[in-house]
Each structure stands twice: as C-alpha cells, then as structure tokens.
Symmetry: D2
C-alpha cells in the first residue's frame, strides 16, 4: 500500500533514514523467533562484538538499544552523569540543540556554547573553559560529531587534545549518529568515553537501533551515576552479557539479522576504509556541484565540511522548502529541508549509507531541475559535470569486480 | 543465514514474540522513506488513530514509541507520577516483578502486594488499602493484566469497581503487553488511565513498538509529573501531533506499515471480537489438553486463566527445561521456559497472535512427544484429542470463506 | 492482497506446490539483474551442476527450463524421439494419463499399458512386450516414478533390470516430478536416460522451473530426433553451455537464486539422505494415521506406497470433495482432491518438500476434524496418535542442534 | 548471497529484464498456495482479463504462459500455422532473426525479407509481395514491433493498412516483447491477430510469463493448425477457461500476484497513457543525450526510433563491449551490449519498465563516465544537460502528488 505512488525508485537523499540495500531487506524478511533459543546468543554476540569495529574501538563495551538516536543520547547521559553535573556542550544546529534540551530536562547543569549555525564547535572557548576549570567541576564535554542540520563535522581529535592539554578528566561524549560508519571515527585513538549512532544512517538499516559504545572510564562512571534509568541502563545489559543471554528485554530479531548483514557488507565486502573513502568522494562531488551552481554551503569553513550531508544555502528570494517540494512532487527525489532557524534558507542533500556514484549524479541532476523550477538560474548539467569530474578521478573499480 | 537450520517451519509457541504472518512481512519488505514527506503523516495518523480500537478506547490518546514493553512501562510511569509518589502494585510473576523493580528504581514509593505465583492480584487486600487511604496518598494502582510468566489474567474491571467503590482518585495503570488485542480489554469501560502493549505480541509484528494509551486524566497528570523523561515524554509527541508531523524523532516506517497491515487484519478482515474469540477457543483447547495429559496449570483458579499463555506445571522429578530443549532440538518447537522462581518447574505454551487451530494442534502433538522424551507417561494423542473435541464445537467457518 | 484471508498459516498439504521456506523466500526477494553480466554465469553454473546431485547422477547433462512439469515432459520426448516412434507407457493415474496424451499429440506411437488406478506399472507385461520386441521397434519406455494422483511409486530399478534382461536398447524416460529430491532416485544406477522434475515439489520453490537430466545416450538420440522443437530444444542449451553464457533466452534470476538456496538446504544443511529419510518417516506416519482412522489407501499394495503423497479412499457414502472443502473453509488446510475417475472418492495428503513432523501432525489433526464434519465416525486424535508413535521412534535430533 | 557485490543500487539499463519495483517485490514475497483453492480463480481471472488492457484489446483472448518470450513466439506460431505454411517475415536484428530461425525449425516456409540492421521493416516490399499473392498462399505476416537489438520500432498500423489494401487474409502476428505496455500498441485498432509480450519487460516483473493475445480469427485458425503442440496449446487453456479453473498445469502464484500488482500500478495508479508518455519522454531525453555526445543512433531514420531502447553506435576505434564492461565494473551500471553482427559496434541503453527521470539521468551520467574511460572525447555533463532540457519541459507532476 502506497500513499503517494510514483513510477520508478524513490531517490532518498535526506541525511537519514537512508536507502536499505537488498541484502539487508533479504536478511530482515523473516518471522519472529524465540530470543531465548540457543541460536539467538550466537547472532547477538556476533553483532555486539562486530559493531565496535565501525567505532574503531576494541576497548569499549557496546550496547544495542531498541530505540532511536534520541534514546541513545539519553542512554549516554543518564548512565554517566548525575543530576546537577556540569556539562559543556555546543549548540550549533538542530540536533545539538535537541541534545542540549535533553540534557537540561534531565537536570544537568549545561554550560552551552552557542556557535553560529554553519560553524563548528568553538574549540578555543572550550580550551579556555577547561583550563579555567581547575576544580574539575565539569563532568563531561558533549559534542555532536556531525551536525546533520548544517552539514558541519567537528574535530573530535582536537577536542581530545584540548582535554589532554588541560589534564581535564571530564568525560567525552560524542553523538556520531550521522557520522559513525561513514566518516572516519576513532573512538580509541580519540579516547571518546561514549559514542553513539543509529541504525538508519550509515548502517543503512531501518530506524530502531540506538548503538552506544562506552569506554571503561564511562562504565566506571555508570556505577556512580545517580540519574534514574531502567530501559536505557547499561547495568541491566551487563548482567545479561555475563549470563550469555544478552538482552534484558526482547530485541528485534529482524533488526539484528539486518545489522549482521550490514556489518558484513561494510566490514567484509567493501571494507570500512573503502566505505569512508566512498563517502568522502561522494561528498566532495556534491560540494563541487554546489559550487558549479553558484550556490554556497551552509558550512562556514572547509575544515568543517561534512562527508555525509551537504547543506546548501539558497538566495534570499527563494524558499528552500519549494525546492524540496517540487523535487518530491515531480522527480520523486527526497531532499532534506532546512530546520529551525535555517528553515526556508537551506536545503540538504544527504549522501550517506549504501549509495553510489550514479545514484548521487541522478539526484544532483534532480536538484538542478528543481532549482530551475523555482526560478534559480541554474545551468542544467553544470553541477553534474563538476561532480563527474571529481568522481572520474577518484572512483576505484568495484572491489569484487576488479 | 540461519544459525541452527531445521527442515520445515519453526513452531513458535512462546508467549511472544509471535508468528509474523505473510501479509505483515510483505508490508514491511521495503526500503526506508523520508518521514518528513507528505505521505508520512497519512500513514502515521491512520496507525495512531486505529490502534486505539484494540484498546477499545475513543477517549484516550495513543502514543507509538519505538521501544519495547519495558520502555512502554517507563513511559506510563514517568509521565504520570513524580518521584516519591505512592503506588500500589502486585507482584505475582516475573513481569509484574520487573515492572515493580522499575518503579522502585524510579524512586516511586511502591506498596508491593506479593501474591503467590500462579494466583491473581489480591483484590481484597487492594480494597482494604484503598478504603484505608482516606488521604488519597496512593497516586496509582498498577496491575499487569496478563502475567505472562504464570498464565494469570487479572480482572481489571474488578479493580475499577474497587477504586470507584472507595471513591479513590488513584490512576489505574495497566500492563496489557500480552493481552491487548487478544484478550478482551476495555479501556474506556474500565476507566483505565494508562494501558500499554508491545508490537511482538497480539499484533504479531516484530519487536520494536511500545504502544501506550493515556486517558484525559493521565494526560492531565502528565502536566504535573516531575519524573525526568525525554525519549518517553508524551508532551513531545503532543507537540508534534498538533503540528501534524507526529514524531519527535525518526520512527521506523517499516514497523508502521507493518502495524497498518496488522490493524487491517485484526480490525477489518477478522474483526476484533472474532480475534478474541479465537484466542479464547485456542486457550481452552490447550487447557483441555493439559488436563488430558494429567498435568496441572500454574494458574491456581479458573477465574485467572489466561487466553494467551498456558503455564504447565511438571512433576517434581522432571526438569521443565528439558522439555523445552528437546522440543526445540527434535521438533523445531519453541516453548517458553519457566522463569525465576518457577524455573524448571513450569513450561509455557504461548497461543497468541496470528495463529490458528491446526498450528496449535501440531504444537500440542509436539508437546506430547517432548513429554514422552523426558519420561513423562503421556498417552500420545490424548491432549490433541481433548483439544480437538473443544475446537470441533467452537470453531466457526473462516469469515472470508463462508 | 489476499482473496480469502484467514488467521494463521495456511496448511499446505497438497502434493505440490509445496511450502516455500523462509530462506528461499529471502533468496528470491530481489529485483531483476542483467543475465549477461559476469556474475550470472557463476550462479547459473553452480545451479546447473549441483542440481544433478538430487538426481544422483554425475554422467547426465542437466537443463533448467523456465517452464512447468508439462514442459519438462515435452522436452524429454521431443528431444529424444521422432514422430511415429514406438513408446511403451503405463496409464495408472491422472499424470501418467496426461503424459500419454501429450505423447499421442506429438504423434508418437504409444503402446499404452492400462493399469488399475492405485496399482503400479505392470512390469510383467512390460517384460513380455520387450522380450517379444526382437526388432527393437520400441524406442522408449516412459514411466512416471511417482503417480501423484494415486500415491503410487513405481520401481524404476526393476524397469531397468527388465530392459537389461531383454537386452533392449529402448530409452528409459522417467517423470520424477513428485519424487526426485524426496524419494530415493538413482539416475546413474538405474541407467535412466531422461529424468525430470519441477521446482514446486521437493525443491520447495515456486512453480517455474522444469529440470531435465539427459544421459549421454539421450543426448546422442537428441542429435537424430526429428520432432520439431525450439523452446525445449537441448541443442540450443548445449550451444550456450559451450559459450559459457548458459541460457538461449532470459532465465528468471529470482528462481535461480531460489534454487541455489534450495540446493544449499537439501545438499549441505540437511543432506539428501536425511531429506529422503524425513519423507519416508512422514509418509509412514501418515499411513499409520489412515489405518487408525479405519480408512484405506488408494495404493493397492505396500510395494507401491508413495513417500510424498498419500491418497485416501473414503467410504462410498462420503464425497471426498466435501472433506477438502471443509478443511479449507474451517481449518485453513489445503488437501488434494481426487482427480478424474477417482474424483469424489479419494482425497490426498501431500507430505513433500520442506515440511516437518509437527506440521504434518497439525494437518492430520485437521483431517480428523474434517472427517468428523462430513459425518465419518473418526475417533479424534486416533490418527495423530498413530503417527506420533511412528515419529517418536524414527525422528532424529535436528542435525544442526545436536 | 551476491556474486559480485557493490555499494549502492545496481543501475539496470539493459532493455530487459527491467527493474522490479518494491510493490511488486512485496506482492511476490509469499509461499506457494494451492492453485485448486477457491481463491485462485479470482486471482487468475482478474489477471487474464486485465492484462488485455495493455494490448488495448477487448476482442482478443489472452493466455498467460509460464514461459519466456521465446515460448510465447512458439505459442503464436504453432497454434495458428501448419508445417509448410508460407510466412513473410522481416530480419532486421537479433530478435527478428531468432524468431525467423524458430519459424524455419518448425518447418514453416518463411519468405525472409532482410533489412539493414538499424532500419525498419521494408513495407514497400511487403506491399508488393502481398499484392502479388493473388492466391493468398501467404498465411501470415510476422513482425517484431520493437527490435530490441537495434532500437527500431516498426509501424504495425501501416502493416495493417497494407494488408487491408491488398485485401489479403494473412494473419498478422506481432512480437511486442519489448514494446507492449511501454510503447503504444493497439491490437484491436490494428487488427493484430496474435500479439505477445514477456513479464520482464514493460511489466517490470521477473522473467517467467509469456503473455499472448489471440484475435477471434487467430482462435479460428488454431482449430485447423496442424503444428504439434501441447505445452503451448491454446486449446488446453480454453478448456480450463470454460471450466473456470483456468490452468492446464500449475501456474506460479507468485508471478500472478506480481502481475496483479504490476497491472494495478500501470492501469490504476499511473494510467497506461501516462506510462506510454513517460517512456516517450525518457527515450527522447536519451536520444538528445546521444546527440550531445556526438554519437549516432543505430536506428537509421527517426520514424523507426524506439521508445524503450536506444542503440548507440560507437566510433570504429572503440569496442563498445569495453564501455559496457567499465560501466559495470566501476559504476554498477548495466548496459546492453551489441549483439551478433553489431557486436562491439553498438551499446544499448534500455529505458523501459518502472523507471523514472532521475534514474535515467544517473545512468546517462554513468554512460558519460564510461565513454571517458574508454577514451572517447565526451564533455562530461553534456548528455545529461541535453536530457534534462527535454525532461524539464515534458515531465508532469506525479499524478498522486499534485
């Protein structure tokens, strides 16, 4: 049953949920099974273990919650911090804004660093604050790795260096919802304490899994956290890990089989480094197209460019929502709207998950047609050509077809 | 990829997760879609509206959380109660035990009424407590409608009558995880304030949706609750309901299409009354089989019998886990083990969701074979015959095939 | 979209099409692909090679036609024989009757040996005819291995021995549509020249593949056959085999992926010998049930008993069609009707393909309920008990779960 | 299981098999069912009836064979003609060549009119031959509507006018495998006697159905045809049509449910006229792209242009197979190779079935990249821009989203 059917594929270029490839659909096409059967721990353990590879961690403990990114945030905060604890966090887009809202509603004492939307985290200010915090009253620094609303990627390694330089023991909590598995993320190297992502982004699964990795230091903090929690409590999971049954409540077997298929594709078939290179290549091609169209990025500086989503600023006389609407209504292309304070000013092209060069070029061609429809003087083919030029140089042969 | 493949169908007779029928698998066999597209609110609204029918409510507000039953519990409690609030609750099996554990961890003041496992809620004691509570210090009465671990169904209508007789304003919170959509549940008639279920039970979907209905009184209470909550907050949903976009975070489109298919099957094809009658018929057939085997129910009195799960007590010289194991290893039959204090003493036959007479009879035949394997002197065919005798009288022609 | 929806699984116990297990459904859940891509020959070759194992042949050449059993028959005949060629064939049920009809319409000179429906091929008469045929005017002996309409399995090894004893060079053509992959079939040992089956039987796939194996002698005969043929011509296939592209016209990639999954299940997971033992076990259990009901087999002698289908004779005052109807209308059980001259007198229980003990017992319980509905004095549970008694002794632990 | 996995979607732009859209995959995702159940005739009749609409006929009788296009050809010929019958047919590409080969192997007396590959049928010669045939020795004129190997569409209405002008009673047999359902086809208006197509083309289904429509005159001819046939015999079908059971042998229920879904999409959702307009629009966009690349069509004159496939001639110093190879190996794009005498000289872009503007533009971008890889001096984006310019003018709003 389709509500608004259209011929051909839907071109899904929002920055999540992403396209679910056929091997994952196949893996998930199954009835329920008894999660207490002897088979289930095998599946569970293989997923819980292997998912850590996309975080590039061997030291952390992973938790796969039946939830969304918002739930994963909640898990990260409530397991490690107590009400009243001081947190430094950056507000630089809709998702960092929402995470801060959550922090405040859980009664943490959030020192919000507001940054311009389109800019990255103000690390200079962070450095000052941490150095000034001799008493170590700051318990955590919370950063969104990739702010999906503005197409901004923050430098988590730099955050770690600032913490280390200040000899500050604050926990480092990172939202990697729209980055992990697509943009290079080095949990162990960067000594991230809690990192999290969601299934419907780089993993190209349906929504429904919030995946959280906790460092030994975060697990230690969890023992002392006074925040109330049950559903999102790590302790319950750890008890079941020890028992070998893995789940404090019923998981979705379909999603786990899907995750298993996704990990096989990312880790074994394509290879994580190649996945990251592909995202980098598609993102740069998209940025070249934007430049060719004469439009600008919402991202203020190249150092913050995002390899999973490109937010494009439209001229003031154009409502970006109209571009998104016509793309959907005429070309079956789904783009991301501008959110909150950049609503109407920005539209977003998501290029993450299981997507390839020609899918992107088709979408860019569609953006051009939509731009033309709303009256923007675009040269048809210009963005596509710029993107092609980049891809022609960067695209390797498909690994299995060499 | 199967971990322990076996020829033929798996016979899934645990009391959830339940068999997912083909029309639901078909509905869910799809890639992701943009939850901000114009099509999505149509799907969302139709599910949010129609799901209320299985609760038999027109006055309540429904919330479909991407979570499990445990999350739905958390949503029910944290939206309506504040830390320190007094709750009366009954501990009469593993799931009521877990819910009470959750209540305590959220710092509610739980007056636990312990009942024998296998017995229903001690309503006499409830009556005394409520009548004694002149100051109305009790803020909520929490009851599990159907205790899945012991096969006990509580009389929620009677709870309501006790509250009314005592003119007590306490909220009535009901866990209907393994009942709603299978056992008659009358939210409006019984003036239940919060009722909840999970997708992997009567709805025959994968795990992943926690469905919560809140009465106007519960919604009013939510305005004053001081429990911290974000992911499970009703207020966020209500804001998005008003905006017509329905979701404070990304929902699973697959699960919603699946829910739509499930509701179509229950409400339109079979009809809710027929669904309930089918559960009643299959359950009684199962109980007749148990009697024919010379075994007894965990359920202490007929008034508490459950129409979704039958917990069977085995003789003391048999380990019920062995029955479950051999059923799985030899006959690809998944039965429920005994949990917690009745581990090894009880096994459970789930008969809820999209299941029919011959599936049940096949499973009962399998139970007989498993009983024989563990040395119990069962007469092969005896339970099947008893069940058949009941079904022969009660089973109507299939509605669409008359 | 369901035309006559019903709660729970359909119990498909016709002798084909058979239940399609989930791993096959998953394998087939895919879009089309280019059959001229480099990937396709890999898939094709693996199927064409491995399918020979279920025929137990290493010397034959296999052809996978996009057709049904009827098409496979046509391929067997037209590739090896010329119009006017003399064939000996047995008419002992609906499918042997139809094959003979086909032979006659292709202008072969068929010496039809009519046998009672329920009896096997009259091998004594065959012996006489072959010994009398000094001039070797008989070009082929055509036998249905398992006559699906009467539940009769013919002894192909005995046919071979008769041919050999008579030193007769006639080709031996065998219809194994409802046997190969379920009942022991030994193409090489029995020197069968053409053997064939269809995908919707033991292979548990959808209808759509007619699989034909041809001995070197059959291939030699094909060079001289004057029957007109194109679609079903082996020569075209052989040309494409040599070229490594395998297909003279577009095959169904979905069916090939499904076949690959089916072969993996049969050959690698369960093992062909175990598959055959399972069919034997389920068939004997069914026959025990029939006996317990006081009914008789259509099969006249035990030596002809079929391990894939049991045809049950009903008392003369009962119309067997009524049993089939009520089973479908009330219990969602699909049984086979009696065909042609045994219409109304016989119903059939198919027990082939990917099916297990408890599925069968559920179906047998359903047959009992249907028998009762039409007024036959059946003791409920009697057939189930008899079947259970057999299965309890014969069923091994599931291989992967030992 | 994937043989050569690659990230993202496969871009399937061969002229069949075509992309199978999700609603069809969903409809087909099901186990087998009993084709003798009361539900089955409903499904069958609805398909057999409605499929005639894509042929634009109300007077013909339709047959849905479990076969491929080659089998459909065989059905058309053997039901209407007798060995020795004189046929006029045009050889102007690989598929007309193969059909003629089939005619000859069935011992028809084929008067082959050889035309240049890339040219349409020589209708002037046809006119002469028919006018000269006073004795009406010619029994049939056989034309491929759309020659898939060269991208040539013949004018069937003109053929009819020639027959009528000559008052010639010959049957008109038309292969519409790669046209019907995509290019305007008017069986009744053009008094076509037999028209046929295959499921894996415009219908966007898997391979496996050969669909044949026969005029009353063709049915009459079938009564007298002396060609041997069984599997492809219309008479058998007609008997089962009369009986209301529809199938002389087991059909694929999955394919029928898929066909039902396809017909719903074409006839009800998009509308056949809109489907045809879409094919016209995408084809013209493709031709504009070819022109922009400085390449030429294999099609010699505009009047023969095909709206389902574009065959592109490459410069003599380029091997067109290299373009196809690199497109597959680097961009996961499947293009059609040149066949037979145009192998290496031509590559083909299929644009039929359930495909839309942006899918095409992505593929065209991929062709540009592949052309560049093989050393052709293409201006990146040039073809895309030309195609976009056409599409921008011609593409309407999606019907359901207006």
């Amino acid at each position: 049953m389709e509500y608004y059917p259209a011929p051909g594929r839907n071109h899904l270029f929002v920055p999540g949920p992403t396209n679910v490839p056929e091997p994952i659909l196949r893996a998930m096409n199954r009835s329920n099974e008894d999660h207490r059967s002897p088979a289930f721990p095998k599946l569970s353990k293989s997923c819980i273990d292997d998912v850590k590879q996309i975080f590039r961690t061997t030291t952390a403990t992973s938790f796969i919650f039946p939830t969304t990114g918002t739930g994963a945030w909640e898990s990260a905060l409530t397991n490690t911090l107590s009400p009243g604890d001081k947190i430094i966090s950056f507000r630089l887009g809709q998702f960092s804004l929402l995470w801060i809202d959550q922090m405040q509603r859980f009664n943490f004492d959030v020192d919000v660093i507001d940054c311009e939307w389109g800019a990255g985290a103000d690390l200079e200010l962070l450095k000052q604050k941490l150095q000034a915090d001799r008493s170590h009253s700051v318990k955590a620094v919370c950063v969104v790795h990739n702010e999906t609303s503005t197409g901004v990627t923050n430098d988590i390694g730099a955050v770690r260096r600032i913490l280390d330089a200040a000899h500050h023991p604050a926990l480092l909590l990172v939202d990697g919802v729209s980055s992990i598995g697509a943009i290079d993320f080095r949990m162990d190297d960067w000594k991230v304490d809690v990192a999290l992502t969601g299934s419907q982004k780089a993993l190209s699964l349906p929504t429904g899994l919030g995946i959280v990795c906790a460092s030994p230091k975060a697990l230690e903090a969890a023992k002392h956290s006074k925040s109330t929690r049950v559903f999102f409590d790590w302790g319950d999971y750890l008890k079941f890990y020890k028992a070998g049954s893995y789940w404090p409540y019923t998981p979705s077997s379909q999603m786990l089989y899907g995750l298993r298929a996704s990990l096989d594709m990312i880790l074994n078939e394509e290879g994580l480094d190649n996945v990251i290179a592909r995202h980098c290549r598609l993102a740069e091609a998209t940025r070249q197209a934007v430049r060719a169209w004469g439009l600008t990025l919402c991202t203020k500086k190249p150092e913050w460019k995002s390899d999973t989503v490109t937010a494009v600023v439209v001229p003031s006389w154009i409502d970006s929502n109209e571009i998104v609407k016509i793309a959907y209504k005429k070309y079956n292309l789904s783009l991301g709207v501008g959110l909150n304070k950049i609503a109407g000013k920005v539209f977003r092209i998501g290029h993450l998950g299981n997507v390839n060069e020609l899918q992107l070029l088709g979408a860019l061609a569609g953006v051009e047609l939509a731009l033309m429809e709303v009256g923007y003087p675009v040269t048809l083919g210009s963005g596509v050509a710029a993107a092609q030029a980049h891809l022609a140089k960067q695209t390797p042969l498909i690994k299995s077809r060499m």
